[in-house]
Symmetry: C2
Amino acid sequence: MPIKSRKPRQQAEGGGARPVGLRDLARHLGLSPTTISLVLNASPASEAIPDATKQRVIEAARQFNYRPSFLARSLRAKRTFAAGVMVPELSEGYAALVVAGIEQVLMQRGYMCLATSHRHSVGQVESVVRQLSDRQVEGLILVDTPYPVHAAIPVVSVSGHREDEGVLNINLDHDAAAAQGIQHLLSLGHRSIAVFQGQQFSSDTTVRWEAIARAARDSGIAIDSRLVVQLEGDSPSPETGYAAARKLLARGVPFTALFAFNDISALGAIRAFQERGLRVPDAVSVVGFDDIWSAAFHIPALTTIRQPLRRMGELAAEKLIELIGAENGNLPASVQVAPDLIVRESTGPVAQSPRPSPAS
Amino acid sequence: MPIKSRKPRQQAEGGGARPVGLRDLARHLGLSPTTISLVLNASPASEAIPDATKQRVIEAARQFNYRPSFLARSLRAKRTFAAGVMVPELSEGYAALVVAGIEQVLMQRGYMCLATSHRHSVGQVESVVRQLSDRQVEGLILVDTPYPVHAAIPVVSVSGHREDEGVLNINLDHDAAAAQGIQHLLSLGHRSIAVFQGQQFSSDTTVRWEAIARAARDSGIAIDSRLVVQLEGDSPSPETGYAAARKLLARGVPFTALFAFNDISALGAIRAFQERGLRVPDAVSVVGFDDIWSAAFHIPALTTIRQPLRRMGELAAEKLIELIGAENGNLPASVQVAPDLIVRESTGPVAQSPRPSPAS
DNA sequence: TCCGCCCACTAAAAGGTTTTATTAAAGGCA
DNA sequence: TGCCTTTAATAAAACCTTTTAGTGGGCGGA
């Protein structure tokens, strides 16, 4: 694929004034580019240069508004100060929060954030990784992206649960999360608990489901397999939860609470329940997951397990930068973050009437 | 700020194998780098080269998995195929949707998306623009960013309403949007309509408010200034609308409908109303703006003016690329996109009882 | 007087491409 | 044979820095 050079864009002012470079400064000062570079970079070798000259150089640089070419120095130093970030879909609330955290830390440390999305297409994943590698990003952050990635650079995976050698994981402590949710429901008297499993493509799906099943078992109750529904479709809207809830109701197996896969699906489920005349939390209690910003303002406000998504993004960026700077040897280790149970209005004590079987 | 070169990261395999370059290929084939470059870029000058040689070159390139250095060719060709994207805050649903559209188009056209946020800090805006310029992005897309930006590259502004010379705008047709909302409420019998104005820092604030006032005037009703409340605080949560609604109620001026600044604030307002015993839409009708994904699944589902946010992002990217490729002269022009009124459950006919004055 | 050292810089290479200008060899024609 | 053209390539410059290895001159000391 050829790359054509472009005739330099005419400045509004008319003169195709190309930016001032080290050479221009050198000529203007009657010095060599080397000297200028040494001084401006405060390189150790510049100690031999008298302060007067240094001042002259610095002054001229400011006056001409000299900005070194990132391209040129990247080429020379083999450092791009750029990191690639891959998410399934940027518009998703989940990904957006994590990316916001990542971007903030990267920026603050002088790195650029190259944002990409793959829409769960394996081909797209490969193509994007190739493009990022071509641009010599120094590291990669994968968010909720359970696809194999082959890269010769440091990789941090958020909610990836990867076993891959050399991938640093930032994951939620799902056992704690599941225990919090189950305990909360148990303490309200619930015994028949329905569960939403995530979509196939979500990397949290398996881990979360297994943690919930384990937590239930440990608490002495079992999850009836007829009360387990898997979310389908890749729409990032409550639609998925709405459909799953209807499927659940259609099975006719009584339950008093739902542990949803995430807040989005919980919202959809609540709507489906209310449409069938099942009030939340009177007839059914619902626990969400994530604590997206609208969870608190839904009616009823959602009880949920909060994931510190933004913090996870920040951590991912911090760890990535550590990895990039690390000598071989002492590499930083994976990190687990703690969930928080946020009790709001969508959960309540189990109803008096023994079994509020859903209307069919 | 000095830039130190890093000792090349040891590959897992052990050999610090640096990537194969044009020179390596040349040596292996017994040709010069020039020839390889000519052939691989299918440059016009390569016509003189016999097909046999071309094949040899192409074959070797594939075999060694040769990937040209983006840095080097960018340096030489003065093209980076990168665009900077600035939003107030990446985690906001509004920005995330626009950015998703932008990223998709940029990627598909071979451009990289450098995502940044500024949190409404003018200093941060300047710093980010500087960093992006240093990296020689070929263009800039500003989303909801009403701050002056001085750049010598093409700029596209989404919902920016800038008058600046040389900035291409992608804006919603706010007059149409306001007319749709007002007409809808009028047709339901509402005459006392409250309005939320956006936060000071949002670039849509003024335009939207003026459009609404104009639409009301044109329809023969006036907006009582005591029914106008400005959102405050920069939290991207319904909290702002919740607070504004309480302020509105506290004023004790009767109203039967609210035209909110956006869906997020509408959600907060609905909660505030319900807490005061004002059912939506029975006692108060609420119209939102944006049509974020959860609007449809809120209870009650939100009637709202949809902005085609993703499409606006796509358009912005398309126009930016046009601008970048444009000869001086025929530049593409600004674009207005059309809103859609989405009628759901949060609006209804005005109540029978003449003036459902809010409980104080 | 001569050696070595310090001072204040600089020349040149390197990084990996693209592009312009040039060349060596072969072939055609007078 | 001598001249011109075509073929099949190549050398070198350019892009803009950073870094290594010097350099020339002045000066102190023996």
